[in-house]
Symmetry: D4
C-alpha cells in the first residue's frame, strides 16, 4: 500500500501532507501485514483472558466482538463470574472443568483434516487439559483426549499409543513430576507441546518441578509453555495443525 500512496502523491491525487497522515497510521507500512495475516484468520474465535477482568469488562469486550460475527472464547472464568456473564449474554456456554465460556457467532466451519491429541495423567490436571482441548476445538480442530495415562501406570499409555501417534501434534499436560512428555516423546514422531501444571504439593513449588522436568527432557521434539497455560499449548498446536492442512 506504500507503493499506492506514493503513486498517488506522484500523480497529485493526494498532497504530501495527506500522504504523511496516512503513513502515520502505520496501516500501510510494514506493520500492515500483521493485519493482513489477521484477516486470514477470519472465522477464528477471539480469545479473552478472563483472569483479572470483572464481568462487565468481559461483557463489553464480548459485545464488540459479537458485532463482527466472531466466535468468542473466554478462558479462566470462575463459576460465579460465569453465571453473572451468562445472565446477561445468554448465548455463552460455560464449561465447568475448563473454566471457559464459548459463544458461536460465525456460521463458518473449519474443516481441518486430522486431529490433535490432548494427553494428561489424571483428574487433577483436567482443568488445564480441558482448557487446551476447548481452545483447540474453538479453533475448529478435532481433539482426541487421553486422560488417564500417567507414567506410573505406563501400560495404560501403551494401550492408546497408536491413536496418539496418529495425531498431528500432541499437547501433553502434566503436574507432579511432569515426566509424561518425556515418555510420550520417545514413542511418537510428531511435535509435542508440553504444559506443566501447578498441581502437586511440597517440593512441587507451584509447578516449578514439572516445568524444569519438561525443559530438561532428554526426548527430542518437546517444547514448553508457561505453567498452567493450557490455552498457549493448544494455540501453538493449532498453528502446527494448520500448517499441516495448509499445504495439502
Amino acid at each position: 500500500m506504500l507503493e499506492d500512496i506514493l503513486k498517488r502523491v506522484a500523480s497529485g491525487e493526494i498532497s504530501p501532507d495527506e500522504a504523511k497522515e496516512k503513513l502515520a497510521t502505520f496501516e500501510n507500512l510494514g506493520f500492515a501485514k500483521v493485519d493482513h495475516h489477521r484477516k486470514k484468520r477470519q472465522g477464528f474465535p477471539e480469545v479473552i483472558f478472563g483472569e483479572g477482568k470483572d464481568p462487565s469488562q468481559i461483557i463489553d469486550i464480548s459485545r464488540a466482538m459479537m458485532e463482527k460475527k466472531e466466535n468468542i472464547l473466554v478462558t479462566r472464568v470462575t463459576q460465579s463470574k460465569a453465571e453473572e456473564i451468562v445472565e446477561r449474554l445468554s448465548d455463552f456456554q460455560y464449561d465447568h472443568t475448563s473454566r471457559t465460556l464459548f459463544m458461536k457467532n460465525s456460521p463458518e466451519e473449519n474443516h481441518y483434516k486430522g486431529y490433535i491429541a490432548v494427553v494428561c495423567a489424571g483428574t487433577s490436571d483436567l482443568p488445564v487439559a480441558e482448557e487446551a482441548a476447548k481452545t483447540a476445538e474453538a479453533y475448529g480442530v478435532e481433539v482426541r483426549r487421553f486422560y488417564d495415562v500417567g507414567v506410573a501406570g505406563i501400560h495404560r499409555l501403551m494401550a492408546h499409543i497408536d491413536e496418539i501417534r496418529g495425531a498431528t501434534v500432541s499437547v501433553i499436560v502434566a503436574g507432579m513430576e511432569g515426566a509424561l512428555p518425556s515418555v510420550v516423546g520417545g514413542l511418537v514422531s510428531h511435535p509435542i507441546m508440553a504444559v506443566p501444571t501447578s498441581v502437586g504439593y511440597g517440593a512441587n513449588f507451584q509447578g516449578l518441578s514439572a516445568l524444569l522436568t519438561m525443559l530438561n527432557s532428554c526426548a527430542s521434539g518437546i517444547s514448553v509453555v508457561n505453567i498452567d497455560n493450557g490455552f498457549g499449548g493448544a494455540y501453538n498446536a493449532v498453528m502446527i495443525h494448520r500448517i499441516a492442512n495448509q499445504s495439502s
Copy 2:
C-alpha cells in the same frame, strides 16, 4: 507385524516358542512403530551430544554410524577435542562458532520447500544460534540468518521482518533480557521456537532471566526449549518444517 506373527503361528509356519522369542524383542509389538518412524527418517543425520564425551567415545560412535552411511552431526565440541577427532576421522568438518562437527556420508539430499529463520540479537548469542542453524542444515533444511536484530534497536528488526515472515517457523535465540521472541511473535503468524541463552551477567543467573521472559511472553505462538539448547530449538523447528512439506 504382530498380526503376521500370529498368522504364521496359526498356519504352523512357526512354533509358539519361536513366536514368543520374536515378540520378546519388542520389534513387533507396539514399540515397533517407533522404529518404523525412524526408518522414515533415513538420510537424516544421527546427532551426538558431544559434551561430557571424550574424543575416543565420539570416534567409536561415529565409526558405527559411518558404516550405516548416515550423516553425522556432533554438537558441543570444544576446539581441542575437535582437533583430536578430525586427526583420526578426517571427513569431519569442524565449525568454530557453533562448536559442531559434521560428516556427510549419505548421498541423498533432502529437498524441502521453504526455509527456517534463525534470529538473534548479536555476537554473544552466535554460538547457540549457529548450533541451531547448523542443526537445521544438517537435516537438509534451508536456513536464513538474521543476526543483528535485538529489541533495543528495533528498526534493524523491522528492516528484515518481511523475510522473517516468509519462513515456515522461526528459531529465536536470545540472552540478556530475552525479549526478542515476544516482539517477533507480535509481527509474524508462524510458530516460534524460543531458545534462551546463558549470555549475560549479574542478575541474569545463567539464563534464568531470559528463560522466564520467554515463558511469560504475552505474544501467542511461542514455545520454549532449555537454556542454550540450540539443537533442540532447531530440531523442533525441523519437525514442523517437515509437516509443512509432507502434506504438499
Copy 3:
C-alpha cells in the same frame, strides 16, 4: 546555623551548656541541610504508604499534615478502607484504579514545563501505572498516558513513539515478560524508570520474571525500582523532571 550558635557562644549570648543542648538536637549540624532541602519542596504533597496502616492511623497522620496546609497523597488504599477515611475526611478524593487518596490543601500550583510519559501494555498493569501517574500529578507534573502499547503489538507503540519521545523521562510499567522498557529504550533518548509488576501467572513468580528482564535489559538508560512500586518510579521521574526545569 552551627555558625550562628558558635557566634552567640563567643559573644556570651548563650552559655556552652545551652549551645550543647541545641546542637544535640542535630537541627543545626550537617543534618540540617536535609531539612533545608525539604523546605524547598514546600507545596509538594506528603505521601503516606497506606498498606498495613489502618484507617484511624491514616486519618491521624493526615490531620497533622492538613494543619501545615500540605497536599496529601495516600497510596495502596483499598476501597473499603478509603470509604471509611473519606467518611471522616471528606476532602479526600479516592481513585479506584490507582488505589490512591488525594487531598488538595495548598493553594500553590507547580508550573513545570514539559511532561512525563507513563507507558504500559494493558489493563492488568493499570493499577501500578495509575499509581505512578497520580503520584506525578500530585507533585504537579503533567503526565501523558500510553496504555495499550505492549511489545507483542509493536505497531501500536510506534503510533505513539513521537509523543513518548517528547517526554523528559518515561515511567514504563510492565508485567508478564517485562520487555517493554527494552523496546522503548531503543527508541527514545531520555531516562527510563522501569517498574516491574507482579501481573502474570505460572513461572512469573510474583513479578520476578519482569524484574530480571528489566535488570538485564540490553538497552541503555534504563533503571529499575521494586516490583509494583509505581510510586517509586514516579518519584524518581519527578526528581529528574524538576532538574530539567530547575536549570532553565
Copy 4:
C-alpha cells in the same frame, strides 16, 4: 553392661570412682548398642569419602583400617589422587568410571541371596551409577546393571523389566529430567532408591531439576537421596537387601 558395672560396685569389686570413669566413656550406656550393631557388620568395608581429603590423609586412615583386616572402599577419588595412593598402597584397585578405590583385606565372603538392580539411562550418569554398584558389591551384594534404559526409549526398559522386577530393591540413577524412577516405580513392586544426578545443562541447575522430579513422583515406593549420592543410594539399598536376607 550398666547392670554389670552396678553389680560390681555393689560387690565392692570396683569403686564408685572407677565406675564413674567407665560410665564416662559411654561404652556401657545407651550408646553402647551402637557399637554392638557395628560389631554385627564385621567383614563389611569401611567407607572413606575421598572428596576434600588429600592422598596422605586417605593413606593414614586406610592403614589404620588395614590393621583391623577390614575391606576398604574409598569414594570420590580423582585419577591423579588415586595414582598417588596406589603407588604407596598397592593393594588398592582403582576403578576409573566410579572413581572408587577398593582393597580386599577380609577373607570373609558375604553370601546374600538375590540381587540389587542399578538402573540408569546412559553414559553421562555412569559415574554415579557405578559408584552405587561398586558400593553395593563392596558390601558383598550381587548387582545387576541396566544402563541404557532412559524414559525417552521406553522399549529398551521394557526389554529388561522382568529382570529388574526380580531384584530386592532398585537403585535408579537419573539426571536431566529425572523421570526414570517414576516409570520404573509403576512397573515394579519393590522399594526404589532414587538418585538424582547433576548431569544436564541450562535449567537443570546442577541436579535440582532431577531432584524435584523424584520428590514429586506420583509413583509409590520411591525415596530419594542427595544429588550425585550414588554411595547413599546403594547403602540404603544394601540395608534393605540385608533385611530381606536376615529373616530367611
Copy 5:
C-alpha cells in the same frame, strides 16, 4: 500367559484376530506381572488422595472399592469434607489429627511380625506423623509412636532409643530445621524414611529448610520423601517391613 495364547493359536483354538485382541489389552504381556503383584496385595487398602477431590468424587471412588471388599483409606480430608462424606457413607471413620478417613471392608487381617517406629518432635508435626501412622496401620502393620523427641531435648530421645532401635524401619517426621533423622540415623542401624514438614516460619520456606537438611544428612541409611508426604514415608516403610516378613 503369552505362551498360553500362542499355543491356543497354534492349536487353532483361537484365531489370530482373537489373539491380537487379547494381547492388545496388555493383560498378558510384560505388564501383566504388575497386576500379578497387585493381586498379591489383596486385603490391602486402596488409598485415595483426597486433596483436590470434592466429596462426591471421593464417594464415587469409595463405592466402587466397597464392592471389591477392600479396605479404604482417604488422606488429606478436611473436617467439613469428611462430615459430608460420613453422612452418606457411615462406615467411614474420620481421624481429626491425621485428616484421614478409614473404612474396614475386608475381614482379612495382616499379621506381620515387628513394628514400625513413627518419630517426631512435637505437636506441630503431628498431622503428618499421624498420616504416616494411620497409613501403616491401614496396611496392617503395628506402629509405635515417639512424639516428643526433638533434637533440642535429646535426653527425651535417648529415653526411648532402645524401643526405636527395635523397629524394622523408622519414619521420622520433622519440620523446622529437620535435624531429627540425622540424630536418630546415628543411633539406629535400620533404614530411615525421612519426611520433612512445612511446619515453621520465616526462612523455613514451606519446608525447604527441613528438606535440604534431610537430603544433606551426614548419617547413613536415610532416604527422603516429599514435604508433608506422611503417606509416602509410611508406604515405603511398609514395603520394607513386608520384605522383612516375607522372607521369614
Copy 6:
C-alpha cells in the same frame, strides 16, 4: 549425681536394680545438668509459641504452669484467640501490638543492672519489635525502645545513639532492606541481635531481602535470627544480659 548414686550402691543403700532405674530416667546422667541449669532459671517465665495451637491447648499448658507458680508468656496469639483464652484465664493480659499474652504468677522480681535496646525503623516493624521487648521484659530485663530510627533518616538515629550505646546488647528489628543493624553496628561496641522482618513488598520475598542484608553485614558484632523471630532475638539478648550481670 551419678557419683551419689554410685556411692549409695557401694554402701548398699540402694540395690543395683534401683540404681539402674534411677539412671534410666536420665535425671542423673550427663543430661541432668540441663535440668540443673533449668532450675537456675526459676522465676523465669515459661514461653508458649502460640501459633498453630488452638485456645484449649494453650489453656491446658498454661494451667499446668500456673500450678508451678511460673510466669507465663504466650507469643503469636491473634486477637480472637486471645479473647477466648482471657475469658477463661482472666489473669492473662493481652498486648495487641506484640500479639502476646502474659500472666504474672511468681512473686520474685529479677533485678538486673543495665538495659537492652530494642531498635526499629517504623510502624510496620512494631509487632516484631514489641514481641522482642515484651519477651525481654517478661524475663525481668529493662528494655528501652528506639522505634523511629530508620537508615533513610539517619539524624533521628544519631539523636539517640548515646542511649543506644549505653545498652548491654541491642535487638535491632528491620524489614524492607534491613540495613539498620549495619549502621548501628558501626556506631556501638556491644553485641547486636539482628531480627529481619517479613515487612515489605515486591522483591522483598517475605523477609529474604532483610535476612540476606543482615547476614552479609560488613559491620562486626552482628548475629542473626530467623525472619520475624522477635522472641529469639530477645531471648539471645537476655542470655548475654544475664552474663553481664552474673559476673558482677
Copy 7:
C-alpha cells in the same frame, strides 16, 4: 524527512520507486529520530562491552570507530587482553582498576557544569566504582570520588556529605549488604543510581543480597541497575547530568 521525500515525489524530483527504496531503509521514517538523537551525541565515545569478545574483534570494531574520529571506551577488558590490544592500537590507554581501555580521537571537549558523585565503601567495590567513574569521564562529565564511606563507619560518610550533596546525581556502588544507597538516599535530595556488586561471600549469592537491599530501600529517589553494571549506572547518571545542563 518523510515530509521532504513526499514533497520531492509530488514535485516529480524522485519517482515513487526511488521514494519507496529510501523509506525501506527506515532512515527517514519514525526510526530516523533515533539517529537524529544519536547525531546530537557526537563527540561522545562509542562504548564496546569487552567481555566475551576476543582482542581481534575489539580491534576491528575500534578501527571502524577511529575513522569516524570518535572517542572509544572499552569496558570489561582483562589485563592480558588489554596488552594484546594496546600492542596493536597504541593510542589506547588501559586502566587496571576499572578494567577499561580508552582512546581519545575527538578534539571536542564537553563542558558540562557540575559533577557526578561516585560513592562506594571500600577496596573490593573499586573495580565497579571505577568502571562507573571512567565511563562518566569518557562522556565528558566531571566525577568526584568518595571511596571509603561504608555504612559501618558512618562518620566517614558524614565528613563528605556536603560535597556529595553538591552533585547533580550520585552513582552509589555497594556489595556485601548493599545498604549505602539507603543511607545516602536519606541525606541528599538528588537522584541516586544504585549499583549492586557481586562482592561478598556466603549468603551474598553473587550480588543478589545487595540487589534486593537496593530494590527494597525505604529511601526515596533510588533506582537500580544490574549487578556489577558500573557502566549502566554511570550512563544513566550522565543522561540526567546532561538534562541538568541542557536546560540551563
Copy 8:
C-alpha cells in the same frame, strides 16, 4: 569534647570559625565515642580480610599497623599468597588449616577468665573452625576445640558435653545438614554462635542448607552469622566473653 570546644569558644580561646572547622571533622561530635570505644580495645589485633587483596596490599596495610605496635591477623590467605608475604614480613606466622597469618607486635597480654568452645563435626569443617579459633586466640581468649562431634555420632558429643558446658559461649561450625547447633543448643545454657559452612555437595547449595537449618533451629539461644564466616562467629563470641569478664 564538644563541651571543651564550646567552653574554649566562650572564653575566647578559639574563634567560632576555628570551632566550626574542628567540629566539621566529626572527631568531636557524637561519632567521637566510636573512637573512644576503639581506644579501649588497644592491644587487640587489627584484622585484615585477605580475600581479594593482593600480597602487596596486605603488606602495605600490615606495615602501617606494625608502626602502631598492634598485633595483626590476616584471614583468608592462600598458601601461595602467604609465602609471598612472609618472605617480605618474616614476623608473620602462617597457619595452613585456618589460612590465617598472625603477627605479634604488642607486648600486652589479655588475661580473660574462662574459655570459648569451638565445636565442629569433622575434617571438612576444620578451615572455618580454625579460622574461628585463631581469631579468638588472636583476641587473647582461651579456646577449647571439640572437633569430632557430629550429630550422626552423638555419643562422641556427649563424651565432651561437660567441658563444652563450661564455656562462656560456643562457636559451632557445621556444614552438610548443619544440625549440630540445635543439638548442642539443647544441652548447654550459654549463647551459641552458629557458623554454617559451604561444605557439602548436591542439594547443599554452597551452604544454604546449613544456613537455613540454623536459622530454623527449634533450640533457644542460637544466633547465626554468614556462611563460612568463622571470623564473624568468633568475633561475636569474643564480645560476649569480654562482657563476662568486664563485669567481674
